[in-house]
């Protein structure tokens, strides 16, 4: 397929792309803001909102008792109140909503609530949750093979701990919902969300309505990254409840600080591991216990834990495995989806182990990584089942890594780094090549379905509507390309419209990288049905079999005859042929047993690898990313420009997660990094000066849309190379003999702690 700009690029650059706050406002629109808990865990003993009500511009103040239906917005369990009712479970939990004549009036008044609390003991850390056995869900555990025996029999053993931090999504457009009451009790909500159908359900439950009375619409989001899957619901519900209560349109647009105080983030993880390996570094058995910070409610922590468990192998064959995940209940924000959805947290645990084994056996980490890869048809084909009993049938990691090793000049640069470090007293360079294997499909089998509508108008222009949402990833561009390709017309004639629950029903979240796989196939199915009808008609007047009619270059032709696409469409209209169609897709081959944690949860795997080179200051811990080489498998790319954008963007976002982005709660459990002034996502100079990205040529062996592969999440894991390059640089201060106890995020402080620990250990 071919390179096209994002369908909205010309609107983005001119400021003409409409986000929800840019929609011309309806007459009588009011504005909401939320009053938040300032206690981590407490009973609310007294609430006086009279000052709030009396504040200038305030029209109404709403609490839990003003919700006509169910006070819950939990996506799986019902443990997530829209507004806290008697019990607060984290600092930042919404307790009441203020509705006012202006945004400023609402936000100002929301600070004026008088609330008294009786404190309860809070659980504020992941470790504390584990110690107190405080969980939002029962732990999950998978054993394959004989890990205990295999560990005992291993020639070498290494035990250790490791941790990675959470991550704020930091979509540039904060959470926003705009609700308009409709006739006969209905509600129309414009919501910046990745999951319009779930918003429809939540609003219906909160208002005691049927789904057919609630319409949720979103043209585009200013970024989502998982943070607008389940967690846009609270705001959609508050806006809708207020709009119903006042019978006026109500908009709730969060201030950045409130957004970060209220909403959940990527789960932070702590790990304990025990690995057995041989003198070459080949893993014999591994036992890993993971505890994640779920926050105060379950939200999506169950499926996140399952994905973490399924990605513990990354690209490595593990014969004997004992892996468990605990979802710790803490009195902090309820953690949720974020690009990778537990996968990165699972995979990095094994990367850390493999990286550590390399220093134990005194080998280049790349060689230990390669030694442990899954087999393929040519090399140890028996090493091809995952620890959840899925057969890896599409492994290209050997070829992909071999290509990158050469194109990145890895071996020569490894020597250059060692030479530099021998003579540089303060600055130390580090280099790492890390692989990625990432499973594509929702673990929940029934989510793997999608629908689309394609309308062909009599002028030959085409309108596409599908269940996926556009958050910048180029989904609409890709689906339009698929439909254009199917109909043989140029892209300019195809337009995608806003996602709308009144058009395609019962949609799945745009998550798990599945957007174009699912909706592209559904769009293609719809277009194909129209095309078949058109081909029948064309076949009749061309005097050929309909199968011989060719749709290409905006023309329809057969038997040396040709007609333009619009001409054929007009003829079809006059012949009373249906020119619109629905389309549907359900991913084949999937099955998953939630009890045994086995099956085929993924249709296929996406692969990639990255090399990063860094320089670290061993006096301050500051570091700089010098060069990155990325090679990623997007299958037969539908749009290489968009896919490269996904790869590079995910890589830098992942690098932020593992380095500068630190969530920090104070002793009272208040998140203190709740704005860009204190929470540091990558900025322009975090983009390495030498940055080379390529797509690995590899048509999907499975029958995906145009043999492409999903590309949203997998490249985030390419950023492991940054973290392990930093670890490599730290390792150089003791001649690579000691494993640096480096945890993520590798802030300057975390790096200095590891540098000091390595120096201390080297002296002993």
């Amino acid at each position: 397929m071919s390179v096209h700009p994002h369908e909205s690029a010309h609107l983005h650059v001119s400021g003409e792309a409409t986000y929800i706050d840019d929609i011309p406002e309806l007459r009588g629109t009011l504005y909401a803001a939320l009053g938040l808990s300032n206690r981590a865990h407490a009973r609310v003993t007294f609430v006086d909102l009279s000052v709030v009500r009396a504040a200038p511009g305030v029209v109404a103040v709403l609490t839990a008792r003003d919700i006509p239906g169910r006070n819950d917005c939990g996506p799986i369990l019902h443990d997530d109140p829209i507004l806290a009712d008697g019990l607060v479970q984290y600092v930042g939990q919404p307790i009441f909503a203020v509705i006012a004549e202006s945004v400023a009036a609402a936000r100002k008044a929301a600070r004026l609530g008088k609330i008294e609390y009786a404190d309860l003991p809070p659980v504020l850390s992941t470790q504390a949750a584990k110690e107190q056995q405080s969980f939002v869900l029962p732990p999950i555990h998978r054993v394959r093979g004989e890990p205990a025996a295999a560990l005992a029999a291993s020639p070498r053993r290494l035990k250790g701990t490791f941790s990675v931090g959470g991550q704020e999504q930091f979509y540039l457009e904060g959470q926003i919902s705009y609700a308009e009451p409709k006739e006969n009790g209905g509600m129309h909500v414009w919501c910046s969300t990745q999951h319009p159908t779930e918003m429809q359900h939540m609003v219906a439950h909160a208002l005691n309505l049927h789904s057919n009375q609630v319409q949720v619409e979103v043209r585009r989001m200013g970024g989502g990254f998982g943070g607008k899957e389940s967690q846009s619901a609270l705001f959609a519900c508050v806006a809708a409840v207020a709009a119903r209560h006042l019978n006026r349109p109500v908009k709730l647009r969060l201030d950045r600080d409130d957004d970060m105080m209220i909403t959940g983030k990527r789960h932070c993880f702590v790990y304990e591991y025990d690995v057995g390996f041989d003198a070459d570094g080949l893993i014999c058995a591994v036992k890993i216990e993971m505890v994640m910070r779920a926050g105060f409610s379950a939200d999506l922590s169950g499926p996140v834990a399952a994905r973490a468990l399924c990605h513990i192998d990354n690209a490595y064959y593990l014969s004997d495995v004992d892996v468990g995940v605990m979802a710790g209940k803490t009195n902090t924000q309820s953690n949720t989806a974020f690009r990778g959805f537990g996968g990165p947290q699972g995979a990095i645990a094994m990367e850390n182990i493999v990286d550590s084994i390399a220093r134990e056996v005194n080998k280049d980490p790349l060689d230990v990584r390669k030694l442990n890869f899954y087999g393929n048809a040519n090399w140890q084909p028996e090493r091809n089942t995952t620890h959840y009993d899925m057969t890896v049938e599409d492994n290209v990691i050997h070829e992909l890594v071999a290509e990158l090793e050469v194109s990145s000049d890895y071996r020569r640069r490894r020597e250059a780094v060692r030479t530099f470090n021998e003579t540089s007293p303060v600055l130390k360079k580090g280099l790492a090549l890390t692989p990625v294997k990432f499973g594509i499909s929702f673990n929940m089998v029934h989510y793997n379905q999608a629908g689309a509508l394609v309308h062909v108008y009599t002028d030959g222009s085409v309108l596409v509507n599908h269940g996926g949402t556009e958050m910048g990833q180029g989904l609409n561009t890709k689906v339009a390309q698929v439909v254009a390709a199917e109909l043989g017309i140029s892209l300019q004639h195809v337009r995608c419209t806003a996602t709308d629950t009144s058009k395609v029903a019962n949609t799945s979240a745009t998550e798990a990288s599945t957007g174009s796989d699912l909706n592209g196939k559904a769009g293609q199915d719809a277009a194909r049905q129209i095309k078949l009808r058109l081909a029948d008609l064309a076949g009749t007047f061309f005097g050929v079999d309909s199968a011989d009619v060719l749709f290409a270059d905006d023309k329809v032709s057969a038997n040396c005859q040709s007609i333009t696409f619009p001409e054929l469409v007009m003829r079809a209209y006059h012949a009373r042929i249906q020119l619109w169609s629905d389309g549907f897709y359900a991913t084949p081959k999937l099955h998953w047993d939630r009890n045994t944690l086995t099956g085929r949860p993924f249709f296929y795997f996406a692969y990639g690898a990255a090399v990063s080179e860094v320089v670290v200051d061993t006096l301050t811990g500051e570091w700089k990313h010098l060069r990155a080489d990325l090679l990623h498998d997007a299958g037969n790319s539908i749009n290489p420009a968009i896919d490269i954008g996904q790869v590079e963007g995910a890589f830098i976002q992942g690098a932020g997660w593992l380095t500068t982005e630190e969530l920090w709660w104070n002793a009272e459990g208040k998140l203190m990094t709740h704005a860009p002034s204190t929470y540091k996502i990558p900025a322009v100079n975090d983009c390495p000066p030498d940055f080379r990205t390529a797509l690995y040529q590899n048509a999907n062996v499975e029958d995906t849309v145009l043999r492409s592969k999903a590309v949203g999440e997998p490249p985030l894991l390419l950023a492991f190379s940054v973290f392990f390059a930093i670890r490599d640089a730290i390792g150089s201060v003791a001649d690579y003999r000691i494993n640096p106890p480096l945890n993520a995020p590798a802030t300057g402080e975390s790096i200095m702690r590891a540098v000091d620990a390595v120096r201390t250990a080297a002296r002993i």
């Binding site: 650059v13 930091f170 007293p425 303060v426 958050m471 910048g472 006096l619 995910a650 860009p676």
Partner: protein, 502 residues
Amino acid sequence: MELLNLSGKLAVATQPESVHPQIQFILGGKTIVVDDVAPTRSVLEHLRESLGRPGSKEGCAEGDCGACTVVVGELCDGRVKLKTVNSCIQFLPTLDGKALYTVEDLRQPDGSLHPVQQAMVDCHGSQCGFCTPGFVMSLWSVYLAHVGSTASEAEIRSALTGNLCRCTGYRPIIVAGAKMFDLPGVEFDHAGLKQSLQAISRTSSLAIEHKGRRFFSPKTLAELLKLRAAYPKATILAGSTDVGLWVNKQFRDLGDIIFVGEVAELKATIASASTLTIGAAVSLTEAYVALKDIYPQMNEMWERFASVPIRNAGTLGGNVANGSPIGDSMPALIALGATVTLASIDGSRTLPLEELYLAYMKNAIAPNEVLVAIDIPLPASALQFRNYKVSKRFDSDISAVCAAFSIQIEGGRIANARVAFGGMAATSKRATTTEAALNGQPWTESSARAAMAALATDYAPLSDMRASSAYRLSTAQNLLYRFYLETRELDPLPSSSASVFA
């Protein structure tokens, strides 16, 4: 102090006259007149809510994400100057007499995209698009600064330090910044803008009132001091890079406001044989220009000091007067022996900068006084000086530790050691024990180690979200060691061997 000539007392304050009490500015080729508006209404709110221009976005409302970036044009010494600022923290009345450009102004008369916009499309520089208008405006300011030349990658990166993008990873945007110069050029009508600005320039000072809240914008120092005497409780406003947050985040009532950004004397930079005098309302960008050749050791710090739009709006005087313990200008200024001039209608006085700070966010400025200038001595012979910043991120971050060291080597011994840190105490503070440990010693490894040990008695830093107390102290000590490595007599390390960013 040559900037001021305050002999005797000035007459009792009177309210300055105003020919037109409305705010006037140029937007879209027209003069916009604003009547009766809250003085703290932000430019962004006004654009989005009142002027039908939703292209500029609110991403954070604190000047840290850049989605709201706009360009402001003004006349300086008869020449048109254009600069990026964060519209979310600029108050509308400060636009008076200026021109405002937003992303909606860039399309060409025939509707085609400006080269900046076209390059962003061609290079795939937008994904979700929400931050894009801000990036486009930052790139446009780079485009305008080059007529017949192109920008270096370093210049493009520098211009983008105040714009966050969560989608692209920045590479395509940096490439677009180069590519925009390859497309057919679009000229900017400087002469036309100059004419428009002259047409709305005001001869007397602006004073407006809204619901009992006054906003004054004096044009002379004498007027400013009279106003200060009359309104000692008024909020002094310069670049509003901090005051803007008092409104957006803390919902503070600022009371009356005196804006110092139009006071001619406060915007002057004057060099004498021994001193550089920087007026309190000189922007951080202009202060950087004035200092970069005199003290190139500060250049990395300046690059890391907030972002370009913040440095365009923020003033050196504001950073100094605000007195945050993590303000980035003060450690270097204190180490260099800078003084500040405070003035009132009763006269003026000069203080060493370190004496300005009394306690956390408390300073020695009297209620009727205004900080008018900072005097920085020119480098003495044999001066060894360095200024270091450590933070989680290179661009636009607040220091965990900010350090400045200055020594002179006289007869093989250290003299005049001045060591100052930010982030280590409740104010920017000199390390007097450390200085004592250095003075009179030879500049050797053992002297450096002794001074590093002494630092532990000078400071007991806090732990917070930026760094722990232990890391702050050990980093401060290590920065002193870096200073030694870079300035020792035998085999000094070049900066490029001591800092990853040099």
